[in-house]
Symmetry: C2
């Protein structure tokens, strides 16, 4: 497992997974199609396709299902490495990896004919979760989950699940995720979205060079120095900008924008007067919250705060990898998650 | 002093000082004009104007002069608050604040007629220092300095001074500066420069919103949360983008670009096989190096490394203000600098 794990980890760390979507094998990809997905905003995605992959076998009691929602721009194919004997064992669990709305596999600006690109409505993390609940209950006929495991934007969905459907999952792992974004993270995603808009306007390399340079500043300086080094810094930005320029589609920029907007508006306390402690009162799931000590993409403080409110197990990784900490400590991360999931 | 100090500190922290240049009083502004400044690149600035301001009186022995080079986009007017009995006392020292090349007061893309905007040559931190050395020796007839005090890009100039003219200054304060930039900082300034280029191309608000959003991510998340708050994050970015849109000139974008390029290429070991320890052997000045523990604009590690090489006094501020730490701890900073400068 480890080679592939580390390979994915590196890709993940530089946030270039979106470029891999086309190369991913599509064997095993399944879809549920609804005539529409009604959104919190009142708008709808029409028709509404939800992609997913399953691993292992659902037991007779239907008590061994685990859901993995995807991170920003990530596809179910790119999350398949999480299904392994060391982490989430398909011999033990029935694992459903679900493609989050807007990821280019489920309904997205890049693949919707009637709602292409900017005509695709804005979505929320709650909309992603609602579509997944419907997939599980209406299509897969799974009435409850043993657990949910989400990383990054997947962790945001995990938090949302626990407040929106508190009886659905017995265990929740929210790693490098957030119950809602603080100013820093909102500024980060707003900046990235402006860069998408600039790219669409200019169709020029500068916008993608800015995106790549900006992406480097998500990383911890010491790690970045090891990985690139000052002499190669500018040339790396230019090379990455060029590679992105040659691979990115306008549809993908809209996919990324819609998912980033979902994170910007993410707030598990949205129905509770914006009070995290009120939202916390609704949580019934057992929680493992994992953060990266120097995460500069998803600021860990809101996770820390929420862990205190619900008295959750909080694990602080400090691998000098920032947002990539769980993937820089694959064995520790695997052991933690495997141990926490336990049963069924 | 403190009100003005804090006001400037706030402005400094959000990196919007460049917008203030026009409002600054120009009383006391002086200039030296050379027919040309020959640059390290072989190109020249023709003619070459160096702005400066002086405070206090040069003593008969000429042993009480202190030089303050300016930070990124900062003008001598905006540094005047450093001259005070609590920090650099004009009753004791003859203080020269010198406008760094490209700051819009000294020769810059925005004010050069023959070399306007993109025709203005690229400059280095060493070029800034060489122009200042010439100002001191040829115009002000000051053969040596009691001290140099630089913050941020001013601190980079201070390091450069100590290696390039090791006999010139007895004491050097390099605060939140760097002997050369690591990958993280190079990525930051490269990104910012791409945003300048995008703004010039589109003349649109998105580029400046991206600049403002990006600027927020220079700050420590906890501080940013206090200062702005998640509910106002997006509206603040939009408001700041609009204000910048209404005030920025194309010339200013080039000023900022040329100064950022100077930082990107900054390397006090450029003449010493890129080896900081070789550069360190040339240092004769006594050094006070001040860093911000969580500085996300000028990564503190290179300053730490260089402090160890030259056995300098290193002070780590940890005010949760990141790059703004010296200005968030004005009394500690003042006491440190005042004490270190001592004499004459």
């Amino acid at each position: 497992m480890n080679t592939r794990y580390l390979l994915i980890a590196v890709c993940f760390a530089v946030w270039s997974l979106d470029g891999l979507a086309d190369d991913a094998p599509d064997d095993g990809q399944e879809y549920a199609v609804f005539s529409e997905c009604r959104l919190l905003s009142g708008e709808s995605i029409v028709p509404c396709r939800i992609g997913y992959r399953t691993y292992g076998t659902l037991n007779a009691d239907k008590t061994n299902a685990i859901l993995i929602p995807t991170w920003y721009t990530g596809t179910s194919a790119e999350h398949a490495f999480l299904v392994s004997p060391e982490l989430i064992d398909p011999d033990r669990y029935f694992v459903i990896i679900v493609d989050a709305l807007g990821n280019g596999v489920s309904s997205s600006p890049s693949n919707s004919e009637p709602q292409a690109n900017g005509r695709f409505p804005e979505i929320t993390i709650a909309d992603m979760v609602n579509s997944q609940h419907r997939l599980l209950t209406d299509v897969l006929e799974i009435p409850s989950l043993h657990g949910i495991v989400g990383l990054s934007m997947g962790g945001m969905q995990a938090f949302e699940w626990a407040v929106r459907y508190p009886d659905f999952s017995g265990k929740t792992v929210a790693a490098i995720g957030s119950p809602r974004l603080p100013t820093f993270d909102i500024a980060l995603w707003t900046t990235r979205n402006r860069l998408m808009a600039l790219y669409r306007k200019c169709q020029c390399k500068e916008a993608l060079e800015a995106m790549e340079g900006f992406g480097m500043t998500y990383l911890v300086p010491t790690k970045l120095e090891q990985d690139i080094g000052r002499k190669d810094a500018v040339s790396t930005i230019i090379a990455r900008g060029k590679a992105r320029f040659e691979s990115i589609s306008v549809g993908q920029t809209w996919d990324q924008q819609r998912q980033a907007e979902a994170m910007i508006s993410h707030n598990i306390a949205r129905d509770y007067d914006d009070e995290l402690n009120q939202a916390a009162e609704h949580v019934k799931s057992e929680f493992l919250i994992i953060i990266g000590a120097d995460d500069r993409v998803v600021t860990p403080q809101p996770s820390r705060d929420f862990a205190a409110l619900i008295d959750a197990q909080l694990v602080v990784l400090d691998e000098d990898c920032g947002h990539g900490d769980p993937l820089c400590a694959p064995e520790e991360f695997s052991t933690l998650v495997r141990g926490f999931l336990g049963g069924p």
